[in-house]
Symmetry: C2
Subunit: 259 residues, 2 copies
């Protein structure tokens, strides 16, 4: 039974999605949970990797649960949660068609990069957001974000070390959303919401850094234009830290899990 | 120099405000930081205690910094942060009048109790909120919350073990605020915001439990009325867990720290 999982994780103490020897990973924990819950050795395929320290509210993955296991598909979540560490939880599970592949079937991904503006660290914001000492202007951040929308060669928005066939990606939307208290009176940060058909290594974190530095005027909008026109990585600002990044949603063009 | 601090902490791994031998406390960490930064042995007075596991976005405390220490009052925060653990941070510091006492001068305190509604744990919400498996009705929660407003004998809303002169307190406001995504489309929890002139041991956590259980109909509103009329603790629901509670603001009738 091809089984899809909706997974949420707090990446703080995880070494990213992909299984490796240097610490706990989401893929490794899920494969271990399948082994312990069902006695099955499987490969869990994610919609894509996330780096060490990156969080997910709605990562999607799939694996082949042996037919001999008799369980309602939506109960697979509960069975796996028994064996998962608290930082990783399966929110939903469902049976999907044999052709479904969490990576190859993905149409769009939505990431959020969260930043709070403060000269001093705030312990209640530090875990899921990065701190930024400046006060970026929202209109200027929006101007930079709009430039990034569309189909572009994002080579300059990628850290070295990635080997991909093409660095062309389509960003469907990139928006700086004010992060405010309930009354909307005091804006204390920004959520940078980005949706695209795929992302290069560190691409969202570099985009977030460029949008913030355009917002303060440190980075001219012309540098972003130049970067998109085949320019180099060093035209842009720094790569923002992993902890501010959350994979929020993977879109497959249909509702995988029902409601 | 009587020095006031605005302090934020993530209570997850702290044994509460008050200094003790069984683990790190906020008061203990602050007194140690004053010792290490300034070589001074002081007593740090908080606006009140918070329990193990409870968070604070705006706790206030004060201490007497020896006159021989030459430092701008607003820089005391940076000096202490060098020696504090990441879970505790001084957001602001200021010189205050000799009469100021963070506990006795406090006029109002505002707490928030956060709850998310889900049958399964969500790793990204678990740290600062409690999970509730039901779907409480906001109108019924509001009805219960309104009953709690005003001056009442809150004896039934207190855990045994507290020794106080009077169990009469004034709750200025108690409001269940929908906790929704940005678009306000999907309400996934509730923030119970409570402001009062003082709170008994576990009072906010018991209030939150009663409001939630009124919301699901498990607890009749009449039981809350009876409890307020001098009834017993066992009329009400359970004490909600510490991690959902955050001390947000202490009001002294004037702006301690300027802007």
């Amino acid at each position: 039974m091809n089984t899809a999982l909706l997974v949420s994780y707090d990446g703080t103490h995880l070494s990213g999605w992909q299984i490796q020897n240097n610490g706990p990973t989401v893929q490794g924990e899920l494969e271990r949970a399948v082994r312990e819950a069902f006695g099955a050795e499987v490969r869990v395929t994610g919609s894509g990797r996330t780096d060490a320290g990156v969080h997910a509210a709605g990562q999607v993955c799939n694996f082949d649960l042996p037919e001999k296991i008799r369980i309602q598909p939506q109960r697979v979540a509960d069975a796996l949660n028994v064996f998962l560490p608290p930082a990783v939880r399966v929110l939903k599970s469902a049976a999907v068609s044999e052709e479904f592949d969490a990576c190859r079937s993905a149409k769009k991904k939505t990431y959020r990069y969260s930043v709070y503006f403060s000269r001093r660290e705030n312990p209640l914001l530090e875990r899921y957001a990065a701190r930024f000492a400046g006060s970026p202007d929202f209109a200027r951040m929006g101007e930079c974000a709009r430039l990034l929308e569309g189909e572009h060669d994002f080579a300059a928005f990628s850290s070295t070390g990635s080997s991909v066939k093409t660095t062309v990606r389509t960003v469907y939307s990139a928006k700086p959303v004010p992060w405010a208290d309930e009354c909307g009176e005091r804006v204390f940060g920004v959520h940078i919401d980005v949706c695209g058909n795929g992302f290069l290594y560190n691409m969202v974190r570099i985009m977030a850094g460029a949008i913030l530095e355009c917002g303060t005027g440190k980075l001219p909008v012309s540098a972003v234009e130049e970067a998109l026109g085949g320019g180099k990585r060093d035209l842009l600002g720094k790569t923002m830290p992993a902890k501010g990044l959350t994979l929020r949603h993977v879109d497959y063009g249909f509702d995988l899990f029902g409601e």
